[in-house]
Subunit: 190 residues, 2 copies
Amino acid sequence: MPFPAKTDPESILNAALEMLERDGPEALSMRNLATALEMKAPSLYRHYPDKAALETALKMRGSEMLQAALEKASLNQEPIEVMRKAANASLKFARAHPYLYDLMNAPGGAPSTGAAKKLWNTILEIVGNVTGKPDDTAASVAFWAYLHGFCSLERTGQFGKSGPKGGFEIGLEALIIGFSSHQKQRKLKP
Amino acid sequence: MPFPAKTDPESILNAALEMLERDGPEALSMRNLATALEMKAPSLYRHYPDKAALETALKMRGSEMLQAALEKASLNQEPIEVMRKAANASLKFARAHPYLYDLMNAPGGAPSTGAAKKLWNTILEIVGNVTGKPDDTAASVAFWAYLHGFCSLERTGQFGKSGPKGGFEIGLEALIIGFSSHQKQRKLKP
DNA sequence: TTTCAAAACGAACGGTGTTTGTTTTGAATG
DNA sequence: CATTCAAAACAAACACCGTTCGTTTTGAAA
């Protein structure tokens, strides 16, 4: 059967994503994945140098999905409402794709891929439109940290037993107020 | 040699913590750990039912350390300054114990241990003194999410290539401003 | 028709967490 | 003092993991 390849990197990636989202990270082994593709584990190494490369590809895919969700949520809204919509879209994404979100934020190796940069630029734009300063790295960092922190803590169940009761909106509005007052300071200075 | 135990759960835990902090999570295998204690892997199972239990103990230890750091940073300060000091202590902890911090926030199983509850109560108290409302779950969730998110993103290098330039203080102050205005609303109501 | 490079594979290596059954031990008991 | 006995450490093995090597199979190109 070999020569006209029985599979390709994209098919493998799709199968890996489906397996990860359905059965979790422990089920995503090279043997399991190969079996799902009706082949044997060593064959996968013709398309990805190792498992880490496959996981990197999964992270990129996740970044693309999240970036698309943020961009979609940002359409035709005033800046502050865009920030709210984007925040909720982010939370929704993390809840809908928990294992993928875990992988995206896993400690091991965070590459500055094109997808990650594009995601970061989207955040910069959303936040910049609120603070009034384009490329507002500091505020964007804060916004992004808050979103990721909430998603991460919610998923690992680290909030009190009562759960994150209303905490998401409170913090988001606090950031918005803080950013807006920060904007006023900038405006008043010159 | 057996009977008067050659080791005990606490010694194992100490060795595991040292090994984790020095050589990272991949080095923390049962065989490695046993070798460091001059024994063989199966012996460890007399003291911990499995590796997950050992990791849970490590998480608890981490929570204790972080809680102690927050409490120490909170002494003899006015509420808002306590919040700043605690935030910086949290960031310092994550930087000083990256692998332990990773493990504490790892996806797998988050137990509501005594240590975790105590840590959560410390946060509740810090935040409550700023918002003026004790047991302010919502604001505490937001504060905690922001801190963890920043530490997590910094560690995984997900900020832009310029790094989190000044982002930590900006977001922290924004939250404080937001919380304070929230407090004013509460105060004006009755 | 023959060649040949690419893809899939069989087998194996070293590593992991874990289980089972055995051996060693020394404090307690008679 | 001698014996008992439960607890601790261990040797061996199992199933799985990611990965590598060398071989076989293939079908398009020459």
